[in-house]
């Protein structure tokens, strides 16, 4: 169905749409239980810009967004590219253990399969 938004030049991507009705924080809170530090993230993007798996599409900021939206299937594809090199953790200005977060996220996603 065509909507009014389709007539515009800037069509919002699905992943960029915030749908608070369908927000699913379940996985997010489970991950917070494992790595409480991720709540300190301020989305500065240092991690994403230094990422070794950047070319493969890996982006920790995106991971954080997807987590809050409960997009578990997309998360699975995205985090699969992380090689756990740990550069993101070393550059984080908020001392977030991003590496441990992705490691635990991979395990949580695997458990929920």
């Amino acid at each position: 169905m065509k909507t009014t938004a389709d007539k515009w030049g800037f069509r919002p991507e699905q992943s960029g749409t915030i749908d608070l009705e369908n927000g699913n924080y379940e996985l997010w809170w489970r991950l917070v239980g494992k790595v409480p530090g991720i709540q300190a993230c301020m989305f500065c993007g240092s991690c994403a810009s230094t990422c070794t798996a950047q070319a493969e599409g890996m982006n920790f900021r995106k991971v954080q967004l997807m987590l809050r939206r409960g997009m578990n299937q997309s998360l699975r594809q995205l985090t699969a590219h992380c090689m756990l090199c740990g550069k993101c953790t070393l550059v984080c200005p908020r001392d977030v253990d991003t590496r441990s977060a992705i490691y635990n996220l991979k395990l949580l996603l695997h458990e929920s399969l």
Binding site: T50, E56, A80, C85, Y103, K106, H110
Partner: protein
Amino acid sequence: MSPYEHPLFVMPFMAGALFLGIYLPLIFARWLKNTSYNHLKIILVNLFSARTWSAIREVVSESLLHRRIFRFNKKLGYMHMSLAFGWFLLIVVGKFQTMLFTHDGLNQFYLPIFLKYFYPDGIPHTFEGIFFLTLMDLLLLFVLSGVALAWIKRLRSRFLGMKRTTKHILPDRLALAFLWLIFPFRWLAESVTAGIYDSGGFFTLYSGKALASILPLDLLFMPSWWAYSVALGGFFVLLPFSRYMHIFSEVGLIFLKHWGLKTGDRDNGYADFEINSCSRCGICTNVCQLSADAGIHHSQAVYFLKDMRYGTPDRATLENCFLCGRCSRECPVDIGIDYLRLKQRKQEVNAAAPPVPFRSNGSPASKCPDVLYFAGCMSHLTPSVIQAVRNVLSVAGVKFSMLDENGGICCGRPALQAGFADQAKAVIAHTREMIIRSGAKRVLVSCPICFKVLNEDYHLPVPVMHHSVYFNSLMVEHPGLFRRNSLRMSYHDPCDLGRGSGIYNQPREIISRIGHLVSSRHEREESLCCGGSLANLAISPAQRHIVTEAAYEHLTSKSPDYLITSCPLCKKTFSAGKREIAVLDISEVVELSMVQENTSGKVENPVRSVSRKDAKAPSLTIP
């Protein structure tokens, strides 16, 4: 009293010994049951070779004399030796002493253990009689001194060089209680007997006389022998379920090791021997920086091995470890702790990270001239290291190209250490392909993490060199290029380069050639971890920071001009925060010596003089 009456009090001892005699062969057979035909063949080939002799030598030096514990602390070594070697001698000498009375070796099994009960008078007037009485009393004193030290260790462990002792589980505590009672009860029983019969050696005779003056010895005679027998029997029954299982499994482990079996192979039972050989002596908890600095006391090797033995370790125990190798190195039983932990991690989490295909398929456009430089992820966070390496290579006239000019290439070791073995395998295959396609004659790496995995898992047809080793040989080839200065430098051995790959001398040779090497207490094999290790997946950033600060304080305690390391991750970790003493990579030190004339000694900004344009190397383009 005739020895053939079988008095009732020997029964607890006999029951315990019988239980042990049946249980031990059964459990050993169970561990060895899974041994494959190939492993059996390896064992058979080596069974009748010099390896068996070297195994026997190690059994004497480690299971009895405990030489490796002496290396850690002399008093602790004496404690372990007196209990193990002393007890062993008591049994052997006791057997010979018994033969004086029975005139043959085929006497009752329990006779040497309770000899004084059966022959309370002894034969004090012959040379052999006096000799054995004195010797046995000396040995008893020897063992008792060990027991006394063990008691002291429980109360004040620092007296024996232990900052902390292991938290024991119930079977260990019970077995310990019985073990601690065995020799005091033996002493009591022999003293009471000596006091009644006015016999015995220099030690038991006088302790017996002293006891006789305050106690009614006749009433104590049977109870003391009963107590000794019950303590022995109880210890034997508890032994297989407690840490004292190591007494026997360690012997098996040493033989299997010498016969050619390798650590971590669960299918040949070697791992079972390893896990059961841990005596929970606690030396690993004392050298662990997590315990000493960060207040983490649940994940050390001893607890990991304990959990492995009685079930499966939980993830908190498994993940909270730097894999720095300090405990493996100090372990008196030589258990492959890191290997076992890695294996277990793989078993637990491997399925969560299936290998994924790479979008970018590495295919270098240009052929690599001679040296292929692989900086690694961590060096990209410390660009000064990459610049220094390029500078040195350019000035020395080495033709090189860079594999990861734009980053994006991982060696695979971080995933491997986390336990994601399948994913790591895919990463390794991908990177290996790129290296081989470049046609390089030699691979130069800056990061010890990459260096270790390139050496061990890549199986490359060309040599892999760490820049500290390569630059050391460059300095020998081109001595004219480098100038000496008066800087005092302290060197930090990175875990994966030092303990992991055995490279200790080359970086030190470079430093000694350029300036003055300041030694520190924990160096070479005993080097500390910087706290940045990627292998730990559970430590909090704050705890990590404490470990780093402690290591930095230690390395800079002699106030050198620079703290030198050979690892970009160590440099990055140490550099975090305000530092009075700057941290440099060994490549930066080499670069520094090439370009600066040092009259003042200390150079403020060392890596900034050669024109960077000249040093720019042609890079491989990987679409």
